[in-house]
């Protein structure tokens, strides 16, 4: 029933920032994050007529689209570059000077470290800290709620070790 559905603009305003942060933690560049975020909401806007709230939450639905868009982005552009950065342990470049002022500098390095984790660990951290429940994270990563918790905790430990290695 169409009239039961929340207007898309409300969804857009509520989730734009969270989706952007999720994508930003994946790709490590604000310009790419903007492009992918735009793609996510364009796709969501087109597909909203088919969204059924009884099957999933709006958050899980949007993050699924975001995850797919991010994976598409890597497939199309960045896989090789990401791999190079990971191998070289380079800090992720920030190409957009205006973006620096708008992101808290002290957290950029942390998100850069998240971006260098293996794909599922990166997703587990990003989805969880974007506000999804472990059940929703599990559904998106196609595993159980318990497995999602386990994956997340391993990911945080791996991140901690990466941060410690960096500071040595």
């Amino acid at each position: 029933m169409v009239a039961d559905r929340q207007p898309f603009e409300d969804l857009y305003r509520a989730y734009l920032g969270r989706i952007y942060a999720y994508v930003r933690a994946q790709v490590g560049s604000s310009a790419d994050a903007e492009d992918i975020t735009a793609q996510v909401f364009m796709n969501a806007y087109q597909a909203y007529a088919r969204f059924e709230a009884r099957h999933t939450t709006p958050a899980a639905w949007l993050f699924r689209i975001a995850r797919n868009a991010t994976l598409d982005h890597f497939r199309a552009h960045g896989r090789r570059e990401r791999l190079r950065r990971t191998i070289e342990h380079q800090p992720v470049a920030e190409e957009d000077p205006s973006g620096v002022a708008e992101e808290r500098i002290q957290y950029r390095a942390l998100l850069g470290r998240v971006a260098q984790l293996p794909e599922r660990q990166r997703d587990a951290i990003s989805l969880r800290h974007s506000g999804l429940s472990f059940e929703e994270v599990g559904a998106l990563l196609k595993c159980s709620e318990d497995a999602a918790k386990m994956l997340y905790h391993r990911a945080v430990k791996a991140l901690k070790e990466a941060v410690e290695r960096e500071s040595v």
Partner: protein, 402 residues
């Protein structure tokens, strides 16, 4: 796990919470993206939003454009002075080809398999401009439309030997893509005004880039205006040559196939490079707007100096072949687009020419250049001769979503 390690992990989790909570897009991105989405949303979505707004009474929604729902639109163009040259014929003057006239493919287009883009939206046709492409005087007022009923008759000959024609697809450009285009011109970002992806400047030019517009339908476009008077172009030849030199100097010469045409009045000239798409078994088909007018890249000149240039933003195109209707089916569709009229007093337009053309169909984050058949003819009412055009989507109806 030791207690200190637990505390360290909790601290890291708090940092992650803060990092995700405080990482947000730049100021203005939210409204900018929303504006883009509004500009690109399909007619059905607008209609549903309008209905929701009516039911809930809490949200204002722009009106649904009548033209957006038409599958086949008849455009009647009034022409006090009959606009004819260029219709269904060779068009303008010299022709240049990035891919060579023998090449049927759009240069640079990645080719996919038959029907690879899925069901396609029908071209978003809309009545609007009434200028003829090759006789319009710069600054001339458009002729009036004929608003009455018109019956149709077909006396021409249409031959379509090919069973398929390519559909070309582009992805909606981002601000990043617009910035890259501007950078290639040596321009720097000034602002992102509403309705545009960006506004840029070089030392002597002002550049604006906007995305796809749904009504009247238009692809992503750049607009270039001199900030100060740009010097006269040092080149021999007519306006078309001057325009091409100007475009080449700024790396704006099109990579697509075109024919050129120049119209002058006094020291003012408008040069248009009409865009074409290659079709195996047919040749080159012109790109037309929602009124059936050919269009492409325009350069305005005054006294040999460029005063403006407008054209499609260079975008990479994918292409996929689609089955198209037969000539007979196209003619039947064209004739069926006229309302059934009985009795006397209703003028009859005699459609005498038909050609394969391409028109833009807007569909969210991807839009399509699709083949269509453009029928043209004339009729006379009260001593005034009008041009009538009928545009029929050529992609087989089984491959169209609307």
């Amino acid at each position: 796990m030791s207690e200190p390690e637990d505390l360290e992990l909790e601290a890291l989790q708090r940092q992650l919470d803060d990092a995700f909570e405080t990482t947000r897009p730049r100021a203005g991105f939210e409204d900018e993206l929303w504006t883009r989405m509004q500009a690109h949303r399909p007619a059905g979505t607008r209609l549903r939003d309008a209905w929701l707004g009516l039911v809930q009474g809490i949200r204002e929604v722009p009106a649904v454009p009548m033209a957006a729902v038409a599958a086949v639109l008849v455009v009647v163009l009034g022409a006090g002075a009959l606009v004819y040259s260029g219709l269904g014929r060779g068009g303008g003057a010299a022709s240049t080809a990035a891919g060579g006239a023998e090449s049927a493919a759009q240069p640079g287009a990645a080719v996919s398999s038959l029907g690879a883009f899925g069901r396609l939206p029908s071209p978003a046709l809309a009545a609007g401009a009434t200028r003829g492409p090759s006789s319009a005087q710069p600054g001339a007022a458009p002729a009036a439309d004929y608003a009455g009923l018109v019956a149709l008759k077909w006396t021409g000959k249409l031959v379509l030997n090919m069973g398929t024609a390519p559909v070309f697809r582009y992805q909606e450009p981002s601000t990043n893509a617009a910035d890259q285009f501007a950078t290639s011109l040596g321009a720097i970002l000034v602002s992102r005004p509403a309705g545009f992806l960006g506004s840029y400047q070089t030392t002597d030019l002002s550049v604006r880039v906007r995305g796809t517009i749904q009504s009247p339908v238009s692809e992503p476009t750049f607009i270039i205006l001199p900030i100060a008077s740009v010097g006269a172009i040092d080149a021999a030849g007519g306006p078309a040559d001057l325009a091409l030199v100007f475009l080449a100097e700024h790396s704006l010469a099109p990579s697509w196939q075109y024919t050129s045409d120049a119209v002058s009045a006094g020291d003012v000239s408008k040069v248009t490079l009409y865009r074409q798409f290659g079709v195996t078994g047919y040749g080159f088909a012109y790109l037309v707007d929602g009124t059936g007018q050919r269009y492409g890249l325009e350069v305005d000149l005054k006294g040999g100096r460029p005063t403006a240039a407008t054209g499609p933003l260079p975008l990479s195109l994918d292409s996929a072949p689609y089955a198209i209707i037969t000539a007979d089916e196209a003619v039947r569709s064209a004739l069926a687009s006229a309302p059934a009229v009985a009795g006397s007093g209703v003028p009859t337009a005699t459609l005498t020419t038909a050609e394969l053309v391409y028109s833009l169909a807007v569909a969210g984050d991807h839009s399509f250049y699709e083949p269509s058949i453009l029928f043209s003819g004339t009729f006379t009412v009260n001593g005034t001769t009008y041009v009538k055009r009928v545009l029929v989507p050529a992609v087989n109806p089984s491959q169209r979503s609307s």
